[in-house]
C-alpha cells in the first residue's frame, strides 16, 4: 500500500471547503449545496441544479451551448448555475486529490439551516455563457458570485499556485516556483496532461 499521508494544508483546505459547502451560499441553501455535491458524486439527481452538477462533474467536455440553455430554461438562474459550478469544480479537485493520494472520499457534511445571502454584481457577458466581472478567463469565471470565486482562489492557491502575477513565492507569476521538489515545468506538465485527459484545450 503506497498511500501518502494527507498534507496538513490540504486537510485545512478541506475543512474550509466543507464549512463553505454546508452553509447557505449566495443563491442556494446549505441543503441544496450539499445535494448538488452528492449528485456530483453520483447520487440520483432530483432538480435541475443536481442534474447540472452530475454532467459538470463527469462529462464537462460534452457541455454545449444548447445544453446550457436547456438547463437554464428549467428554473435555474444563471447565478445559481455559477454557484453549482463552483461547488462541483472544487469538489472534483478535492476528491481527485484524495483519490490520487490513496484515500477514500471524505463523507459530505451535514447541511446547516438558513437562507442564502444574495449578492448582485456588475457582471456582464464578456466571452462566456455566464456574466463575469471583466473578460471571461479562469480567474473571472465565477466572479458573478463572489464567494464562489474566492473559494476557487483558495483551492487554486493551496493545490497549485496563487492565481496572481507575484514574481515571488507560490504564485503563478513566479516561473521559478518549486513546491515539495516539483519544479514549475513539472507542474505545468501535470496541468497540461490533466487538461488533455479532460479534453480541455484552454
Amino acid at each position: 500500500m503506497s498511500a501518502i499521508d494527507i498534507p496538513t494544508d490540504f486537510t485545512a483546505l478541506h475543512d474550509r471547503e466543507w464549512d463553505r459547502l454546508s452553509h447557505p451560499g449566495t443563491w442556494l441553501t446549505g441543503r441544496e449545496r450539499v445535494a448538488v455535491a452528492a449528485a456530483a458524486r453520483g447520487e440520483a439527481a432530483s432538480s435541475p441544479a443536481e442534474e447540472a452538477a452530475a454532467v459538470i462533474s463527469t462529462a464537462p467536455a460534452t457541455i454545449t451551448r444548447d445544453w446550457f440553455d436547456a438547463v437554464l430554461a428549467r428554473d435555474l438562474s444563471t447565478e445559481q448555475y455559477v454557484e453549482v459550478l463552483g461547488i462541483v469544480a472544487r469538489l472534483r479537485a478535492l476528491d481527485t486529490t484524495r483519490f490520487g493520494l490513496g484515500h477514500n472520499p471524505r463523507p459530505l457534511p451535514e447541511p446547516h439551516d438558513g437562507e442564502p445571502s444574495p449578492i448582485t454584481t456588475q457582471a456582464v457577458i464578456d466571452g462566456s455563457w455566464v456574466p463575469t466581472i471583466g473578460v471571461a478567463f479562469p480567474p473571472t469565471i465565477l466572479s458573478a458570485v463572489p464567494p464562489e470565486n474566492e473559494a476557487m482562489f483558495d483551492v487554486h492557491t493551496t493545490l497549485y499556485l496563487a492565481p496572481d502575477g507575484n514574481p515571488d513565492g507560490n504564485s503563478m507569476g513566479n516561473m521559478n516556483a518549486v513546491r515539495e521538489g516539483l519544479s514549475r515545468s513539472q507542474m505545468e506538465f501535470v496541468a497540461a496532461r490533466t487538461s488533455l485527459l479532460n479534453d480541455c484545450f484552454f
Binding site: A3, I56, T96, G100, S183, L196
Partner: protein
C-alpha cells in the same frame, strides 16, 4: 504555460509528450508523472496504486503529493472553462498540432 516555463528554464522539452504518453516530454520523472495523472483523472484504482508507487520511487512522496494536488486543481479549472463555453484563445489554436492531438471540432 508548460512551453513558457520550459523556455524560461532553457529546458529542451517535447510537447508531443503531453498528448502521447509513450513520448518522453523531456522533464525529470515525465513518464511517471504522466502515468500518475492519467490514473488520477481516469479514477483507475489499480493503476493509481502502481503509478503512485513508481512516482514516489522516482520523485519522492512530497513531489508526488504535490503532483496529485496540481492534478486536482486542473480537474477544477477544466470544469470551470468547459461549463461556461470558454475555449482556447485564437492564438493557441495551433496547440493541438504541437501536442499531437487534434483540437475537437467545437474549438475550431
Amino acid at each position: 504555460m508548460l512551453r513558457a516555463s520550459a523556455r524560461h528554464h532553457n529546458e529542451d522539452i517535447n510537447l508531443l509528450g503531453v498528448g502521447r504518453p509513450h513520448v518522453d516530454v523531456g522533464l525529470p520523472g515525465g513518464r511517471v508523472l504522466s502515468a500518475l495523472v492519467e490514473a488520477a483523472v481516469l479514477r483507475d484504482g489499480d493503476e493509481m496504486e502502481r503509478a503512485r508507487t513508481q512516482a514516489i520511487e522516482v520523485l519522492g512522496s512530497g513531489a508526488t503529493a504535490r503532483a496529485v494536488q496540481v492534478t486536482g486543481n486542473f480537474e477544477m479549472m477544466n470544469r470551470l472553462l468547459d461549463a461556461v463555453g470558454v475555449g482556447p484563445p485564437d492564438g493557441m489554436l495551433a496547440i493541438g498540432d504541437a501536442i499531437g492531438v487534434p483540437l475537437p471540432d467545437r474549438h475550431r
